[in-house]
């Protein structure tokens, strides 16, 4: 078997719990990051003990609830975070689509930004010259906008320009974090085509997304993350099923808890304040959105491949449900 392109072993990273930790400058310089005086309980591991390896040409989807370390994992692979534990080895250049707008300087024009960010990603001046028109066309900017400062762009335009630029990179590894959720439908279709084309070139891709359609469309393998740990490494359908089963169970547990609370609360709470009332009214809608999501997704899936109205609608429900849960 060929050497894996991405290989993580025992990967872990920790953050300080309270950012206002009191450490003197002297201690920091002497002990570096190794020893934290108020370490016990003051840190948490958004990611720990994660090991996997990805072969060339694979497309791997990472699924899991918000805040389970998916994005952190991508950042570690991209090399913009350094692990505190374990290693991640990446063989080949990485094209990170972590946050598309980032890197663009609002004061500079679109043109200047393309040159700046492009060369930061390792494109030569000549390559950018050659592909410039293609990038602008892909981004579908209105006439004249390319020579306007980026701060006048709408957020959609910034994202389009960002994706257009990144998709021109020829790096063998792509990391994509939730960026497909933005952009209108026409642009999304364009992105899908671009990504399919890249995958056909035998490039490797790691995708973080809450959209099951996106995941099923591209990925062959799924990593299911839960509480900062990798709990399942299987094909994408199995991973999604596990995620869904867990989400369902959690929702049911929450509902049961709420029901129990209501049952216990209502006889005593004849005189309860408005605050409690508002949480009560909030609860059913939230649960409603959740069930709608669960119901909508399986229905939308068969219609997925063509990327028409169906999946887009499905995406939106999923996204909204997640936001609210967070």
């Amino acid at each position: 078997m060929a050497e894996p392109v991405i290989e993580a072993t025992g990967l872990g990273i920790k953050f300080a719990m309270n950012r206002k930790r009191r450490r003197s400058l002297r201690e920091m310089l002497i002990h570096g990051t190794k020893r934290d005086p108020n370490a016990s309980g003051a840190e948490f591991w958004p990611l720990r003990d994660v090991s996997f390896s990805i072969q060339q040409g694979e497309c791997v989807g990472i699924v899991g609830k918000n805040g389970t370390g998916k994005s952190t994992l991508l950042k570690l692979i991209a090399g913009v975070l350094i692990p505190d534990e374990g290693t991640v080895e990446v063989r080949g250049k990485v094209a990170p689509l972590l946050e598309l707008r980032a890197g663009f300087n609002g004061q500079l024009t679109g043109r200047e930004n393309i040159y700046l960010v492009g060369s930061l990603h390792g494109m030569s001046q000549q390559t950018i010259d050659e592909r410039f028109d293609e990038i602008v066309e892909f981004a579908n900017l209105r006439e004249g906008y390319i020579d306007m400062p980026v701060r006048h762009y709408s957020s959609g335009m910034k994202v389009r320009l960002g994706f257009a630029l990144i998709s021109q990179l020829e790096h063998p590894i792509m990391l994509v974090d939730e960026v497909l959720a933005v952009g209108d439908r026409a642009f999304k279709r364009k992105c899908y085509r671009a990504i399919s084309r890249m995958l056909e070139d035998d490039r490797t891709m790691v995708l973080v997304s809450h959209s099951e359609n996106d995941l099923r469309r591209f990925c062959t393998r799924g990593l299911y993350m839960k509480d900062g740990r990798l709990v399942l490494d299987a094909d994408i359908d199995t991973a999604l099923a596990a995620y869904q089963a867990d989400a369902q169970a959690e929702q049911e547990a929450q509902q049961a808890k709420r029901a129990a609370k209501e049952a216990k609360g209502s006889p005593a709470a004849t005189d309860a304040g408005g605050a409690e009332e508002s949480t009560d009214t909030g609860a059913p809608t939230e649960a409603g959105a959740g069930t709608a999501e669960a119901a909508a997704d399986p229905a939308a899936d068969p219609a997925a491949p063509e990327g028409g109205t169906g999946p887009a609608g499905g995406d939106r429900t999923t996204g909204r449900g997640d936001d609210r849960a967070a």
Binding site: I13, F15, A16, R19, L25, M28, L29, G32, T33, K75, A78, G79, V80, L81, I82, D84, V94, P96, L98, E99, A102, G103, N105, Q107, L108, E112, Y115, L116, S119, L120, H121, Q125
Partner: protein
């Protein structure tokens, strides 16, 4: 470390792009643009000449005597221009990483290039002020020597570059974790200005009645040597002695090593905090 240096070298084009971007952004929104690079030192020189040259009309200690070619005014200008280079690097240094937080957290580039960029951009700014300096040299009849041009000038610039780079690496990384640095820097800027013989020739301290320990302390400031060298280009009498020269070169090298080690050591936590 060699591999890091190589990675930085491979990204030299990025550094030059960032520098050009900085200059562009800086000049784009102002009407006078490039003229500011010259107006600022001119205004400062005017103020100091008024105070120290005209009001306190005492022994100003110009190296080589008050009648030396160029006089006190050229002494001021030739010190102020490199000082502005230094002081602007110093005030920018703590923000070298913070202002690029977005770039740093989304793409993998050697993080060192951002401090390097600050140093380079300020150096380019300094080069832009040379026309002002030359103007004064010709108008005031300043004279240089082979030693001044071939030894003191390149050495002064090289030592200042090394010093600024070490300083920027150190301050940029520490400031991400401890924001107090920004405040410290403002005070330092003021103190170092008077401690480095920019407008007050060093002979006024070195050949004075100050206690010995104070004079020694004064000479241990690495910046003193750097600015004495800048002055020595036009005033051969201001050439630094062996002690000042060695603290200057040694101090710059020590700061570079310390700055780099700190930068590497703090990198992990800096990335988390950005």
């Amino acid at each position: 470390m060699p591999s890091r240096a190589l990675a930085v070298w491979q990204n030299r084009q990025v550094v030059s792009l960032l520098v050009r971007r900085d200059l562009k952004v800086k000049y784009q929104k102002s009407i006078l643009g490039y003229a500011w690079s010259m107006l600022e030192p001119l205004a400062m020189a005017g103020v100091y000449f008024f105070v120290f040259g005209l009001i306190f009309n005492s022994n100003r200690g110009v190296p080589g005597g008050d009648d030396a070619p160029g006089g006190y005014l050229l002494f001021l200008i030739s010190g102020l221009l490199p000082w502005l280079w230094f002081s602007q690097s110093l005030s920018q240094a703590p923000n070298a990483l913070i202002t690029h937080a977005k770039l740093i957290t989304t793409m993998k580039v050697p993080r060192e290039i951002f401090p390097i960029e600050v140093v380079a951009a300020k150096f380019v700014d300094y080069l832009f002020t040379w026309p002002v300096l030359l103007l004064f040299v010709f108008a005031l009849g300043g004279r240089t020597s082979a030693e001044g041009l071939l030894l003191w000038l390149p050495l002064a610039i090289a030592v200042q570059l090394v010093f600024s780079l070490g300083m920027t690496l150190l301050l940029a990384s520490v400031n991400v974790l401890v924001r107090d640095i920004e405040r410290v820097v403002r005070i330092l800027n003021r103190v170092l200005f008077y401690a480095s013989a920019i407008i007050i020739p060093s002979s006024l301290v070195l050949e004075s009645d100050f206690p010995d320990w104070f004079v020694t302390l004064y000479q241990l400031n690495p910046l003193l040597g750097i600015f004495k060298m800048h002055h020595a280009v036009w005033y051969p009498a201001d050439a630094p002695n062996a002690l000042i020269l060695s603290t200057s070169i040694g101090g710059a090298l020590v700061l570079l090593v310390a700055g780099y080690l700190t930068f590497r050591r703090l990198e992990t936590s800096v990335l988390k905090e950005l």
